[in-house]
Symmetry: C2
């Protein structure tokens, strides 16, 4: 199953080439480095620069990732450029390494499809020498001397800064570093002093983008001056033990105030664990984190603020507030700089949260001339449809199945997860890290279902075809079993290659996926229906979400997770909610824009729509073979 | 020693009169009520209204108290009007009860010497019916519906309000009461929502004025709409166990951060005790307290904010900040409405704090055409001198002796304290509550020293005249003793009338008082010196401070606590620092003015002045008999 990778290493000399034999699914960069072919990776292969760019000379370039779009821009992507670090090989190709290209500055989100973002986080640092008060008559104060040194006549100063002020000013004769924040951007009027540190720490200016999903929480550390993403941590939302989906979590919170406090404490605790880990991983001190942007669905947002989400769970499912909220890290007990600004993006509706606003910002759907669709896949998925003229959104409560939860052998996309499945005369799997399989993650489940549908192991209603298994190839046939009263497909048996334990797909698992994909597909269909947009009019469907980058678009199309658009009109955009948060972290203009965009989004309540029931039932089924 | 009080009860009939025999020191109101003469006291005899006003027809009206000035105004006071509840009888007089007077509204600080203050606390309440969100499409939120109901497009809303919002809006179909605050006054722009309460609580709108002294803390509950003072609690500052004066308290804080925390926790704990007690006394719920104004010296101010005051104790004694600070009650852990605004008035210098600013506001010294002096007597006393043209201030670190501390048998002015002393051929005492004496308070000590000086028991250097005691009348002579090596004056012996235990004045007590009064007198003298103001140019000396209302001005003059001005140019103004805080509580215009006034005050550092040493030593002595 190996593929051939041919790399032209010298643009001036077509003979300077190497052909490598590579396992499918390897990135070009990894393959090149393994074979000793030098491809520069300034950012360490994290999609944060353009140094590892390659141009496809033969073979089909894979769909661009959001990193390709961001770093290379639309034009280069169309010309067949890709980042070697992002580009997974699935067929034999020939590429040209680092061909001449006007090098642009090293920045994330600085160019490309998302538009150039002027870096202006609102956070500024100044190293100043403060003249200590020395007059006994006509006294001044530490704060006045500080303000004079930084050239401000007035500023908001929190008590945490005041408490540290006398020591900081007197500790280091070399001076102090004053961190200020201007909401709306550094050109804006009123400043807030976030920190005063001894010595020169001007180079240390970091922020966090936090995406709190129902099932997963992702925290990303970003350097505010360069936009560089330094580290990212993701983990399960620890509230999940109190309910896998939003409704059960709301019911738990509703039960008594102690439960709400429990949910609140859990998420704050997890964020502090993330902060600790991300700081350890990157060598950044937590006190150098001055700005935090949080996105998440309405329920997660409310719980983070300690607000009872009960009424979000009852018709008409209205949020307690939709305004953007800014508070100090101290108020939230987040262990970054105590006066760091924690900015929660605005909400659209009870089930269309700040995460949807983040997706809108990152995908620039609000300024698109043509109609686009963004599907944010997650436990509490959301669908956006529209253009610069109008924008609609609805929730698509998929439940956690696509994130591997509530699936017999489901797991997150971590080491040991089956992430790719091929079904021909038997089932073949690939695991993350190529270790023994521990379970199966979302992309694996979708691949598996697509393959089983194709092979006729399950029919369009989702039923596992136990009765007809004899018609299958022997390898496959053996895997279709009934245990107790349960229909199962045995994906892996202990003893098989790559199998440490048995992994099965149950009939119930199939039903869970049908519910999940039904929710998403019917969300898309309903928005098209409400907006009067037939599929021909959809210029592009953008697949977003934590696992959006890993799912096979072909498989997603096959199981009907997304509407049957031509393949080239579908692309991955990665965790767009988190990217939206990063945009707001890096640009106060973007954070200001979030409010305008949120206000523009028209909420469509699926459940309240008379046609929804029928559409949902239809979407639960798999597409019938054409 | 009784005096005669004649009351004309009917202004139209001079024959309608009663003559009562009254013990000196009784108020006219109390005497009248005891004898069954009806004098209306709407406010309960607390100087908060004008209903008990009397006009002196014969006999000298006593110096007006600040309440007389506030309620009656300058003109009426000059015409001989006084409040019967404030007026202590010391000689026989004839008064006319409640003569015709255009009744002004019931308000504190609303008129008189301090000028009419327009009541505008910035706190407003509105009862509204909020339409709950009911649309599933085009959603709104609880907060948006609330803002619409109160007619705001935007407002600052703290998380504590948001957390209670869904419940409050759904609890009572009759509506909710929304409390807002506009910094600078209700006409000012941006509003902050302080509370949303179910039902109609519009009548409940209270504030606290807090005066944190080194030795005493006074908390006053004020109704914001009427200005009425409802209750007041005072107690010892519990930090005193860690040092009686500021310098020893600073030294304690400096020792380690845990000590600073200890001081901080103690004061916050005490304030919460005060709040509990004041609410219990008045029947006001703590959640109805929406605004708190705090004055205090710089060190107390810093400790309340958790700021290390170490550098306030080191030359050049500069504060960490002088700006006014506003924060939420929640941040300070004060148990009033969580989003209540806690406003700390601005500071002038390391040893001239927000209390001095409060005194300046309350006495209106900053707008005086003539030069006035305000002396705030306290452990960390302060002196203000000036007029609308220029204003100077210095600290007068008297130590706690005048508050009864660091005196062998000293105590606060509470039940059982000797508060009045007469010395003729013997020593005669009066105790608060006329119970057995437990100790001697500041006003008693000053009376005692004045009497002993007059009788020749101590000389102008402060030495107790043991050697010359035989020249004294026998009753007095017996009281002058030497025990061990200590010279003492026995004020009370067990078995004497009013004596439960022995109370003595030691030579060391005299020295403590000399230090205290020396600090204050030299402060006044130095300001006169620096400003070039001879005593003839001083139009008035205002005596302020917790015990200012009780001290005998004659005694204070006799011991040289205040400069030898003609008696009629000296008056009591009560606890002016606390009254200044109350002004700012009731009027955002005043609170805004505090900053201008603070900026205008020129700080004079006594210790840094070359002439101070000599003046201080001179002021430690008692005035020589002329």
């Amino acid at each position: 199953m190996a593929v051939a990778l041919t790399i032209l290493t010298d643009p001036g000399d077509a003979a300077a080439r190497r052909t490598l034999t590579v396992a499918p699914g390897t990135t070009i960069l990894k393959a090149a480095h393994a074979a000793g072919v030098d491809i520069t990776a300034t950012c360490g292969g994290r999609g944060r620069c353009t140094s590892c760019r390659v141009k496809f000379l033969a073979g089909l370039p894979p769909p661009p990732t959001i990193m390709d779009e961001v770093q290379l821009g639309d034009d280069l992507v169309r010309e067949g450029y890709r980042l070697a670090c992002q580009c997974l090989l699935h067929e034999s190709v020939t590429v040209q390494a680092a061909p001449p290209l006007e090098e642009r500055s090293f920045q994330i989100l600085g160019a490309g499809q998302l538009g150039r973002v002027a870096l202006d986080s609102g956070v500024a640092k100044q190293v100043v020498k403060v003249t200590l008060p020395r007059e006994e008559h006509h006294q001044t104060s530490d704060l006045e001397q500080l303000l004079e040194a930084v050239g401000l006549t007035t500023a908001d100063v929190g008590t945490a800064v005041l408490q540290g002020l006398p020591q900081a000013l007197r500790d280091d004769p070399a001076g102090v570093t004053v961190t200020t924040f201007a909401s709306g951007g550094t050109a804006a009027g009123r400043q807030r002093i976030l920190a005063v540190e001894r010595g020169d720490t001007a180079g240390m200016k970091f922020g966090l983008a936090i995406d709190i999903g129902t099932t997963s929480v992702v925290t990303t550390l970003v350097e505010l001056d360069s936009g560089e993403q330094l580290a990212s941590v993701s983990s399960l939302n620890p509230q999940a033990v109190f309910g896998g989906d939003l409704m059960s979590r709301i019911a738990f919170a509703q039960f008594n105030p102690a439960n709400l406090r429990k949910l609140h404490t859990r998420i704050v605790g997890l964020l502090n664990q993330h902060i600790e880990q991300i700081c350890r991983d990157s060598g950044v001190l937590a006190k150098w984190i001055y700005k935090v942007v949080v996105v998440g669905n309405t329920c997660m947002h409310h719980i983070l603020l300690g607000i009872d989400p009960s009424h979000v769970g009852l018709a008409p499912y209205a949020p307690v507030l939709r305004h953007p909220v800014t508070l100090s890290a101290r108020e939230l007990f987040l262990k970054v700089a105590p006066e760091a600004r924690v900015c929660l993006l605005p909400l659209v509706a009870g089930f269309v949260g700040a995460d949807a606003v983040g997706v809108a910002l990152a995908t620039r759907i609000y300024e698109s001339a043509e109609i686009r669709i963004a599907v944010d896949i997650g436990t509490n998925g959301e669908v956006l449809l529209g253009s610069r003229d109008r924008l609609w959104a609805c929730s698509a409560p998929a439940g956690p199945a696509l994130e591997g939860a509530q699936i017999r052998h489901g797991m997150r996309g971590a080491l040991g997860a089956v992430d790719r499945v091929t079904v021909d005369d038997d089932i073949r799997v690939h695991t993350i890290g190529e270790t023994d399989a521990l379970g199966i993650c979302g992309s694996g489940i979708i691949d598996l279902l697509a393959g089983l549908l194709h092979a006729g192991v399950i029919d369009w209603t989702g039923l596992i075809q136990v009765e007809a298994r004899d018609a299958l190839p022997p390898g496959l046939s053996e895997r279709v079993v009934v245990r107790g009263e349960e229909r199962q497909v045995v994906v892996l048996r202990p003893g098989e290659a790559g199998a440490r334990q048995e992994i099965v797909l149950t009939q119930d698992d199939v039903r869970q996926v049908q519910l999940a994909k039904g929710a998403i597909a019917s969300g898309v269909m309903m928005l098209q229906h409400v907006a009067g947009v037939p599929s021909e009019m959809v210029a592009e469907l953008m697949l977003a979400g934590g696992f959006g980058n890993y799912v096979s678009i072909e498989s997603a199309l096959r199981i009907g997770l997304i509407p049957p658009l031509p393949r080239e009109r579908i692309r991955y955009v990665g965790n767009a909610a988190s990217l939206g948060a990063q945009l707001c972290l890096l640009s106060e203009t973007e954070r200001t824009r979030a409010e305008t965009v949120a206000a523009r989004i028209e909420h469509v309540s699926l459940a309240a729509h008379p046609d929804f029931e029928e559409i949902f039932v239809e979407c639960m089924n798999f597409p019938r073979p054409s």
